[in-house]
Amino acid sequence: MEVKITEKDNILTAELIGRLDTAVSQEVSTALQPLMDGADKTLVLDCKELSYISSSGLRIFLTIRKAAAAKGGKVIVRDINTEIRQVFMMTGFLNLFEIQES
């Protein structure tokens, strides 16, 4: 699991690469701390290379979403695959996040 964070035009983009399962959730959570800190900006979770997500990953997404809601920021989830889309659907996350296809 790899996390790449870039900032451009006041937009913080986190590129998630690999499987986000319970084993790596703690380190991913740490790696995404800049998004928590910049929760007043526009946050992009780029999931083009994310192959899998479990509930521990969903927690991280939800935590960021809550921070953004509190600080007036905005969260965009970009390019989720079919499997993750199904998980988002099951968990009601499709209603919580703005999903974008590039």
Binding site: D21, Y52, S55, R59, E83, T91
Partner: protein
Amino acid sequence: MTGIKTINFASAFQGILVVFVALVILEAGYVVQYYQTRNIVVENAYRRAQDNIDRVEQDFTRIAELVECAVRNNTWSARVLATQPDSLWALTRGIVEDNPLVYGSAMALMENYSKKAGRFFAPYAFRDGNVIRNVQLGTDQYDYTHQEWFVKALDTGEKGYWSEPYYDEGGGNKLMTTYSVPVFDHRGTLAAVLTADVALDWVSDRLAAIEDYPYSLKMLISQTGSIMATSPSYDSINRRNIMDLAEEMEDGADFREINRNMLAGEEGSRRASLQGKSYYVFYDKMQKTGWFMSMSIPEEEIFGELRMMNRRVLGIQLLGLLMLLVILWVTIRNQHRLMVVNENKSRLESELQVASDIQKAMVPKVFPPFPGRKDIDIYASLTPAKEVGGDLYDYFMRDERLYFCIGDVSGKGVPASLVMSEACSFFRTIAGHEKSPARIVTSINRNLVEMSTNDMFVTFFCGVLDMATGHLRYCNAGHNAPVLLTPESSVQLPVIPNIPLGVMDGFLFQEQEMDFTAGEGIFLYTDGLNEAENADLDQFGMDRVIKAMNQTFTATEQVEKMLQNVHSFVGEAPQSDDLTLLYIRYMNESPEAVTERHLVLHNDIQQIPQLAEFVELVAQTAKLDSVLTNSLNLALEEAVTNVMLYAYPAGTDGLVDIGVLIRRDQLEFSIIDSGKPFDPTAAPEADITLDVEDRPIGGLGIFLVRKIMDNVFYQRKEGRNVFTMQKNLL
């Protein structure tokens, strides 16, 4: 037993022959050596005698020279003083006083030389105890001018004359000799004879001091042949003349000749016999005095050492003989032992036969093994190369599963057979409670390694066949890949080689699996089959094995056919290795296709990726699409993570057992742990309709499990949490 006796006689005769030849060689060598040694001994004795004689002569010469010197030193004074007779007392006294070797000294004037002194005047000084006395020798009654010492001195002249040894009646009956020289006065007229007497009483001691043969006779003989001293001392011959003595002897011819030669001045050695005894006589003339010394040594004395040596040699020979006899005896006895060994061997052979029977009884031999069962067909054959072998096979039915194995212990014979029997019993014991072939193999391996049989290892193949489903799990430990028979083909089963058993503990044996359908079979064998050699050393080979396979054969037909083929190939060549064949055919026509998979993890979330691999395997077996696979993965991760995080107290190690039953229409997962009772299904349903602000962070895990699975339920069984999840297929 007659055989034993014949051999003993033959070897005894051989032994005696060896001893006899050795004796002849020894004796021949000994005779040659004896004569050589004899010559050396005689030569040695001569040298010794000569040496001793020389040393006595040297002593004499030294003393004689001292005395001669003492006398000559005074001839000048004597010459001057000859005309003053009164002063001659002092002169003679002085000679005695100054020379400890000189016993007495006289200055005997020529007849009527001095009117004042009278007709015969000879002042004489001599030792009497510690004092020196003077006497006048010349009286009218004692005309010394006719004495030997006087006359010969005049004859001999300035060189001086050593008298015949004599016994001095006046001086304590001592053996004496006198040195005398003539003295001329200043006019050149012969004036006197000056003498010095020397005691010879030490001569006997000197002779006795010669270290020599104990029974030799040493004699000092005067110029005229009188015996002056002997060692050992014989009073009866002392002062006698040797010529007279020899004349008196009846068989003294040899000695008479020796005496004549000696007195004529000859030096050397001669052999002489006297009274039946042989002597070696060594003799020599002393240059200064003209005296002789002789040594007579009995022959037996000279050769005494040689005789002693003879005895030793004889002793050694006897010892050698004795040793030869001992060797002979030991050899014969060893041959007897050989017979005993042979007897032991035949006893061992019969014991081996018993061992062979026992070993054969260790493998199942009753066919069909499961009468009444139509779903399995088994036949096997084991032929050891020797009485006992290292090949093994076994099978048994437990809980509707067939556990079977085949193995080959490295090496042949008794050592291999012992390991073989160990391996057999390990298999029976361990497979009696263990379901996984990999774990069975791992356990047997550990036990064999613990036995630490040097260099022994076992190639082994172990399989567990589920009779209901035809699912085979197998583990190969360095054994030959079995042949898989399907209606389409006969091919070697794909095997992970792993390593043979007994090599090292802790090796991670990998398990494999496959599914049988009715009529398919697995043909197992040891390398005694494919490596069977004919007289041209060609091997039977796998091609011939595969070729001999026939899918329509029964197990018995197949094995017998293979044996027939390999026997006709090998021909007359001896069987080089143990040969074992085991053929198992799965005959169940209507299996309930259930496949079982297991994974055991520790309560460590870092092991979660292994779970993904496990699910991937299940998906392959059940031929699932990627979306369903992903969902199942998610559900399992949620369920397992739950157990990992909550079942065991923090910091303690615990296991999570994940199992799956793959049926045609359903997957059934079970997650089992030994932690505290925990029912995940008791959690309240998450409300996914809430807004961001109201959504709780947790609670999604079990929610997802429920969403993905068709049926979930929890049971507390035997102290364990059993969480079951079912997913319907189709």
